[in-house]
Symmetry: C2
Subunit: 162 residues, 2 copies
């Protein structure tokens, strides 16, 4: 077991242009299905968020929007983010006050991330074992779960130069 191969980090060494355009494509489908309007501003914010796999602060997005043409005000960004969060297209990383594109928007899931403190990458994981362990524990307390914030910070494989 010592030499077991690890799962490659999915958001490293990949065709990010495709990754990003797929995400936008998925977003369009989801919004259409939900009868929600992915307006130009909202789509632009989503694009900006998807420029990398690193969570982006609202004011970073704001500044980037400003570069486009005329400067925007905070509510513009926060409203777009609220929309994208409601549609499950982005996640909020509470420990960083930042936002990152959802890699699993096509199906229901809870928010679970590995966050590298060095390169900043946010790896969205889907770990039924974690979800199950949490559900079991909540059950013991008679606690009814609405929402989960699972943010594991540390060093991703690429950033462990011991």
């Amino acid at each position: 077991m010592a030499n077991q191969k690890t799962t490659p980090i999915p958001c490293r060494d990949h065709d990010h242009d495709k990754c990003m355009s797929d995400a936008i494509q998925r977003a369009r489908q989801i919004c259409q299905a939900n009868n929600a309007r992915l307006t130009p501003i909202r789509e632009r914010v989503l694009e900006l968020i998807w420029q990398s796999h690193n969570p982006l602060g609202a004011y970073d997005i704001l500044a980037m929007l400003g570069n486009d043409g005329k400067p925007a005000a905070p509510p513009t960004v926060y409203r777009a983010l609220d929309f994208l969060l409601a549609q499950g297209l982005v996640h909020r990383i509470a420990s960083q006050n930042a936002f990152v594109g959802c890699s699993l928007s096509s199906h229901p899931h809870v928010s679970q991330f590995l966050l590298c403190r060095d390169c900043g990458v946010a790896i969205e994981i889907e770990a039924p074992a974690i979800t199950k362990a949490i559900a079991h524990n909540a059950d013991q307390y008679g606690f009814r779960i609405d929402n989960e914030t699972i943010e594991i910070s540390g060093l991703c494989q690429c950033c462990q130069h011991d």
Copy 2:
């Protein structure tokens, strides 16, 4: 299995005066052991945090400190909080920008909470199964864990008036 009894929520219907004084007592011991100085301000902030099991915002603490005597400035509170966090005496609840007393300060553990969205209670849990599932998953990605933020929000047993 349908009628299984749930674990009572430990921070409900308990002698909170004792709960709180125990926490302060524990804090004194830990600080002494760590050769860290639990100064009057720091102890006062810890007391204020322990007035309930609900996470408290830094500015709430600030206002309470102000009621004591002369008003304090934000850095006073944030410095005390930094100290208490470093000593493992309080936890930060990232999803609420708030702070709560640590119920498990006597031994090493990660931060795992059930957070009631109705009454606001923060139930600190210790679930090896969750920790293990997370460790296993991180391993798969070759990710080295530093820190975990596990915040489960929902309704505690007392607040489920279906």
